[in-house]
C-alpha cells in the first residue's frame, strides 16, 4: 500500500466530478491574464500530472489531448502544441505512477520537475521548427514554481478523499 502524505491513511475513492472540477479550475487559472508573469506555472499541466499519477485509469492521454486543444485555442498558439506536450507528459506520468507514489512528497515533486520541464521544452521544440526565439530562460521558471506547488496541491486535491481518523480496535486495517 503506497503511503500517502507521510501517513498511511486510507483514502476514500475519488469522485469523478471532483476531477472534472479541479481540471476546470486549472483551466480557469491558466486563462487569467498573467502573460506578463513568466513564472506563473502551467496549472493545467500540474493538475493533469497530479491526476495521471494518482488515477492513471481515469485521467490519461485522452483528457490531456482535449485540454491541450483548449489551451491551444485560448493561447492562440499553434494547434496541437499543448496537446502534444500534455499527451507525452501524461503518458510518462501514468506509466511511472506506481513508482512515484512510493516516494515521500518532496521526492515526488522531484519526479514531477522533469515532466513539467518536458511540457515546456516540447512546446518550444514545436514552435522552433517554423522558427521562433526562446523568450528567455524565465520561460522555464514556471516549471520550477510548479514543482514547489506539488506539496500544497497534493494536500488540496486530496482533501475530499480523507476520512476522519477513528480509532476502532475491531477494524482489521
Amino acid at each position: 500500500m503506497p503511503s500517502t502524505l507521510s501517513s498511511s491513511r486510507i483514502l476514500q475513492p475519488v469522485r469523478p466530478w471532483f476531477i472534472l472540477l479541479s481540471l476546470s479550475c486549472a483551466l480557469l487559472l491558466n486563462f487569467l491574464p498573467t502573460s506578463s508573469w513568466p513564472w506563473m506555472p502551467d496549472w493545467v499541466a500540474l493538475v493533469l500530472l497530479f491526476w495521471s499519477v494518482r488515477e492513471p485509469r481515469s485521467v490519461g492521454m485522452g483528457s490531456g489531448f482535449l485540454l491541450g486543444l483548449a489551451m491551444d485555442v485560448a493561447d492562440g498558439s499553434l494547434m496541437g502544441q499543448h496537446a502534444l506536450a500534455y499527451v507525452l507528459a501524461t503518458y510518462i506520468a501514468s506509466s511511472l505512477s506506481r513508482r512515484i507514489l512510493w516516494f515521500p512528497l518532496g521526492q515526488q515533486a522531484l519526479h514531477i520537475l522533469p515532466l513539467l520541464l518536458l511540457v515546456q521544452a516540447v512546446q518550444y521544440g514545436v514552435r522552433a521548427m517554423p522558427g521562433v526565439d526562446l523568450p528567455g530562460l524565465s520561460y522555464f521558471l514556471g516549471a520550477l514554481v510548479g514543482t514547489l506547488l506539488w506539496l500544497p496541491l497534493t494536500f488540496v486535491l486530496l482533501l475530499p478523499q480523507y476520512q476522519p481518523i477513528e480509532r476502532d480496535a475491531n477494524r482489521p486495517i
Binding site: F31, V73, M79, V87, Y91
Partner: protein, 309 residues
Amino acid sequence: MDHQPPPFFKRGPAPLARLSFYAALSLALVFVDSRFQTLEMLREGVSLFTHPIQQVAHSPVDFLEQAQDYFSSITRFREENASLKRRQLDDALALLRTRQLEVENERLRRLLEVKQRQPVNGRVSEILYAARDPFSHRVIVDKGQQDKIVAGQPVVDETGIVGQITRVFPFVSEVTLITDKDQAVPVQIVRNGLRSVIFGLGNGQLELRFMPANADVQNGDLLVTSGLDGIFLAGLPVAKVVHIERDTSYSFARIYCEPVAGVESFGEVMVLDARATAPLPAPLVPEPTAREAKVPAKPGAKKKLLKRE
C-alpha cells in the same frame, strides 16, 4: 500465444498504442496548422467552449480596473479633460486645412486622371489582453465576426500602425503586432522615398531588411507604409530608424527601428476597413516604346510616381 487476459481486466488499447495515436494526431494538427490555414473552423468550434471560461477568468481583473477608475480622483480627469481640449483646439486648425487639401487633392487627381485615393473607415476597438503564447507578440481585441471583422485588416492607433488582424473568432479577434517575429510591412522612407520591407524581430524592435550597405538611411528616419501590399494604406507611420550597422562583409546593412505607435501598450486601437482590391490595369503588355523613351530616368520621377499611388 493464446494467453489473453480475462475480459474484466481489459483496459482498452495498450498505453504505447494510445500514445502513438494521440502524438500522431497532435503532430498532424501542428503540421497542418503551421503549413495550411485550414483549421480555423476547428479553432472557432473550440473557442465556443473556451471563450466563456476566459470571460469568467477576466471578470475579476475587469472589476478591479473598474473599481480603480471609480476611485481615481476627479482632479486627474479634470486635468485630462483640459489637456484634451487644448489638443483639440490645436488640431482643429490642421484638420480644417486637411479637409480643404483633401478636396483640392481629389480635384487635382481627377484632372490628372489618377486613381482616386480611398476613403479610410474604421472602427474603434479595445485591446482586451495579450495572448498567453510566450513565443509571439499578439493581442486580443474586442471585435470579431459579429462586427464583420475579417483577417488581414490593418490595426492602427493614434500615432501609427500597430499590427494586423490575423485570426477572427465570433466575439474577439487576434491582432499580430508588427513587432512579432517575421511580421512584414512594406515601407518607404519619408525623406527620400526609398522602399523596402520592415520585419519584426520578436524583441520589440523592427529590422529594415534588404537595404544595400550604402543605402541612404540615417538615424531618425521616419518610415511610413508604402501601400504596395494592397493591405495597408499608404502613408501611415510605422517606425523610426534607431541604429544602423554597416558591415562591409555583408551586402546588406543592418538597420534597426523602433515602432512609432504604442505597440506594446494597451488601450484603444482602430481596426481599419480592408482596402478594396484595385482592378489590374487592362493593358498588361507595355505600351509602345516611344512613350517610354520620353520618361526621364531621373530619381525624382520615381518619387512622383510613388506619391500618386
